[in-house]
Structure formats: structure tokens, C-alpha cells
Amino acid sequence: MAEDEKKGLSRRDFVKGLIVGGAAGTLGSMGLYSYSPWRKSHFAKLAAKNIDIGECKSLKITNVSETSWFENKKLMGDIKGSGGLLVNQYTYNWPPFAEKKGELGKGSYEKGIKEIKQWLPNHLDKAWQFQVENAVHPENAGGFACLIDVELLDGSRKKILLDSGWSFDWMDKCFQREGIDKMLARREIDYFVVSHEHFDHFWGLPVTVKYNPEIPMLIPEGFYTEGMQYIRDCGYRGKLTVVKPGLNPVFPGFATYVFAIPIICRVYGEQSLYFNVKDAGMVSVTGCCHQSIIQFAETAQKTIKYKKNFGVYGGLHISPFEDWDPKYDDLVFSLKKYQFEKIGCNHCTGITCAKKFIEAGYPVVRGTARFRSKDTAYLGNGDTIEFKAAG
């Protein structure tokens, strides 16, 4: 050391430099590496399953009802008043499970069904009259349902009813308006698919059962005991299939997919639909899309063999209560990646979100704002959308 110092060299300075340089080199490498494509080499590789579900020729969707409820304020007020978003939906004293002079948040399935069971499914007017007199906000109930008419490659057709809405009165009128009542009675609808157990998609079940108590029905695994009992209490006597989580091919070009997810109001599991349209691409149809539109599109890409995304229809669950948060803008932006060529949104997508889609330049199919649908920014009640290859 003494000799080094004599020569004008300082070991202390070298070590100081080594520490500073070492730290700079390590941190700099970390920074550069985290932005480089090499970082992906450490991610687990997810192999696409590429399951072939076949192809169909085209599909046409008729929006029977997308107005699940008519006033957000009443709906949110009732949910808050019952104890919040995690409270069992059967306890709200909402129709059709109201007890006599039902009070908010103090009901139960057992007490509610006892009052109407004798009228199910053939005297729904009487059952609904009881709700008008006793339930909490019966006038706010609407419902979600749509009819999917699929043309197969051989030219034959299959019809699917997705969901049965909520209010017996409203849904019966909607069914009559679109001719669903007659199609059910003539056994022209091949499948009844229930997306999930929520009040606005499932509680109108007796309206479907009234016209066809034997229609093959597909529900997602995860229904609670009240929901399963309701199917029996409605007088349903057809073939009930409880679909397990994952892909469930039904006929060429059509499969359902059950997402095992917890949902607000104490519901579990959502079933969505995939249609592979020949020369056009994948059409994803959803009731409420609680799994999120991103997971919905990603699941198709990872699971099913198809060329490209073509369309999406249904409630996309982005701003169902017309609230907006900057993080939803990211969702709108990231949807671009999937390159949908036709977007038919409504219901829990939110009018605010539909307008953001239009502003972002997405191919949103506009509606006509009839039958109590509020805006032409999206497909409303009675509107239709078709998905098929051009030319």
C-alpha cells in the first residue's frame, strides 16, 4: 500500500469505483433486460389446445330484452340496503320471491316461493300480481334474453334461447313481441342456455317453462340450492345439463364455455357461447361477461381452433351502472388487440362504454332505441344482428 501510494495509485479509490460501477452495471442490466424481448423466455409456455368445434354457416341474434332493470338508482339502493354486493340475492324480497309485505333484505327463497308455487308455470299473471302488491320495486324488474338462430353448413337450422330474463310480466310481453312464445310452444327452439344465476337472467325461468317445460336446458355448474330448487318448482321436466367448467361442444360450430368465477350477489359460474362461422371467424356471445371481455377473448384463442375473431354480442360488463373510471379506458383501448369486425353490445356494457367504443372507432352496430331501450349507441330491445361471411 505504501509503495502504491508512492507510485500515486489509490486502492481505496479503485474499490469505491468498483462498488459504484457494479451497482450501476447490475441495475442498468435489470432495466434493459426488463424491457427486452428476452424476458419472455422465462415465462411458462401456454400451449393452445386448438380444439376443433367445427363450423356453422351463419348466425342471427334477436335481442328479446336487454333492459334488465329500468332504474340504476333503485337497483343499487336496494342492493346497498340489503347489505351490499356480496349478500344472497334471494334475500332481497325482490320479485318473484317476495313474502307478504316483503321488507328489503329480510326475505328468503323458501318464504317467497311458498306464495307463488301454486301458480307456476301456467298462471304467471297471478304470481306477478302478488309481486306487484308485496315485492320491493317490482316495477324496476326487466330482464335479459336473446334468440340465436344458427344456420349449419348443411343448410339446416338450430335455435338457442339464451336466458329468460327477470320479470314474468315484462318477459312474457317481450316473448310475445318477438314470437318466442310460439317458437317454444311449437318446439322450434332446440336449446335453452342459462348464462348464470343472476336475477335478471334466470328468475324469469317460468316464462320459458310455461311455453315449453321440456326444452333441453344447459346451466353452468355452481348454482346454489335455491336456484336448483327453483328449476324444479317451476315445473320444468326436460333434460337438464349442468355444464362443468371448460369447453362444452354442443353441435358443429357451437360450444359453450363455463367460467368458474364468483360473481356479485352470491352467484357462482358463468356460461358463455362460442360460434365458429365459416370464412368469417369466431363469434363470442355472452349474457353478462363477468369473466371480462379480455378473458372471454383470450380463452377462445387458447382453447379453440379458429382463424380469427369476427364478432361479439351481449352484455360486456364494463359500466353496468353507467359509472366510469380511468381504468375502463385501458379496457376499451386493449380491446383493439382482438380485432373484432362486428360488435353488438348492450345490457351491462353500459351506454357510456358503448359511446367510448364508437369514439375509439370500433365497429359497433347501432340500435333503434325501441321498447324502453334508452340509446341508439347499442343494440336495444327488438334489434337484430347477423354474423356471416361477406359475399
Binding site: L9, S10, R11, D13, F14, V15, K16, G17, L18, I19, V20, G21, G22, A23, A24, G25, T26, L27, G28, S29, M30, Y33, H42
Partner: protein
């Protein structure tokens, strides 16, 4: 800033980069070797 300090920084940066890539690349590869050796044994 002395020459020794500058040399130290230069050597340190090189060492830091090498150290980081040893952690990122060499260790995962080595852990795979261990896994393979354990299968053979």
C-alpha cells in the same frame, strides 16, 4: 476523479452486467442440470 476510481467504475460495470446475467441465465440453466442429474440418479 482519480484514474483508479474511473478504472474501478469501468471494471464494476462489466462485473455488474456479468453478475446479473449469471443470475438470469446461468442459474436457471444450472437448476435444470440439477433436475436432470436427479432424474438420472
Amino acid at each position: 476523479m482519480s484514474n483508479e476510481y474511473k478504472i474501478g467504475i469501468f471494471v464494476g460495470i462489466i462485473a455488474g452486467i456479468l453478475l446479473y446475467f449469471v443470475v438470469v441465465w446461468a442459474l436457471p440453466i444450472m437448476s435444470k442440470w440439477n433436475w436432470m442429474l436427479s432424474k438420472i440418479a
